[in-house]
Amino acid sequence: MKDIEFLKQLAYDARLSISDEDMPSLIDAYKDFMDQIQILEDIETEGVEPLVFPFESQNYYLRLDDVEDIMEVDDVLKNAKEVQEQQVKVPKVVNS
């Protein structure tokens, strides 16, 4: 039960809603995943820095501040489902 509430909150964090019907398979996946995480606990990582990229690498390049590749408005909006006044339309966003 605690797991279910927890997983529902996580699903919400990912902006997903999990039906009761799909919950058992999610719980299985979660348990399997937690077992996998458990495996890592046995590995000593004291003093080890996380590796964010596949290998340590640095860049020296920064993009020059030039304007190019501006989209046509039609292209900006062509994949949007609702458009009004050249803007993407959504139900009113209330401050949260």
Binding site: Q58, L62, D66, I70, Q86, V88, K89, S96
Partner: protein, 476 residues
Amino acid sequence: MKFETVIGIEVHCELKTKSKMFSSAPVSFGKKPNTQVHAIDLAMPGTLPSVNQKAVEMAIRVCHALHMDIQDLLSFDRKNYFYADLPKGYQITQHYHPIGSHGYIEIDVNQENMRIDIERLHLEEDTAKLTHLSDESLIDYNRAGIPLIEIVSKPQIKNSLQACAYLEALRYLFIYTDVSDAVMAQGSMRCDINISLKPETSQQYGVKVEIKNLNSLSNVQKAIDYEIQRQTALLLDGKPILQQTRRFDEKTQTTVAMRNKETTADYRYYPEPNILPIKLDSKWIQQIKDKLPLLPKQRKDIYINQYQLSYNDARILIDHKELSDFYNQTVQICPHYQLVCHWLIGDVLSYLNKSHQSIHAILHVEDFAKLMHFVADKTLSTKQAKQVLELMMTKHKDPVSVIEEYHFQQINDDHILMKVIDEILDYQPDLIKEYSQGKTKIVGFLVGQVMQKTNGQANPQKTNQLLMKELEKRKQ
């Protein structure tokens, strides 16, 4: 019980780069919706961010101006949250390693210097703009991706006066380092105020309230004053202060709760995997520092201590960066510090205000310096100089040609002046009589007559001397 107010301020400033933080779409304002957009700004699947060099340079400029330690390995992180104005579902920011840390700024509170420590400065990107209609909201992505710097102060500010002075000082810093127009009303400079109260005797901070939606300095002041009053009243009543985000309401001139913050939001920050850390060249960082213009505080010190300007005169110059720059250039050539200052903040500034023009459009430094020389060595009278200046500004001419064209040259030649004086005195013997009877006042009247005859070109001092001499001579 007495309470102490603790205020920390987060300032966001939009950088005036040509292109956006992570895309090559233009940064511009007041354009038609969704015309300043790159696929990257729209978070089109498959797009990747590409860091704008100029934005980094501008951030470094401000870091230098704030005396900060600069992180030379530039890295970015993701701040994850869903919101309609956030196309990617995360904002690229610098959470773990801000480009600048441990800085300070000197501010001026009622002519007293005060130092505010600054915790961090980091680069990030702006969100899209939402326009709320009655039932729907419209999204314009023009703003999405505009580079921002965020500056977080230490909680060292104690009242609204200091807060405003701090914001004002930052605003000038942005303008002087040429990174932003920093107009609060237009949102190119924004601030969030964190404010808490604690009993004077207590070491522990009180509950923090965040105030948003502050679009002017006067609102900052009102919001803080109101908040201090509100929180004091609650504390005296023994009521709890809720950890909240509030906003300033223009209508009621109060702060109103937007949401309670029982739990702090989890943004799941983690390093941006699409941008390798970028090693900044230390020479480049130094060059940016070397090219930094004189900053407001430095200028103020020079103006007051070295040039002996009054505090107020110095303030007026500094309030107008263009004018201050122009002043600095002029006094390099013509080191009459006070004279140049008075002319600039007087006639020149009022003309600029009237005509809404930039000083560089109407005056050249060399020309203005020349005019100041003429004033200083009395080649021109003040009155003449004013007229010359006006003609210089309206006709865009140099002072020498104005003087020639409009016969403004002062007459210093004794010979010529004596001719005029003789002419006047020859026809008015009564005046000499009056003079010999002790009515010395008539000298002024006579000088005026000489000026009239010479179309104002006569050197008044000289005329005065010659007149006295002549009158004494004729008296006998």
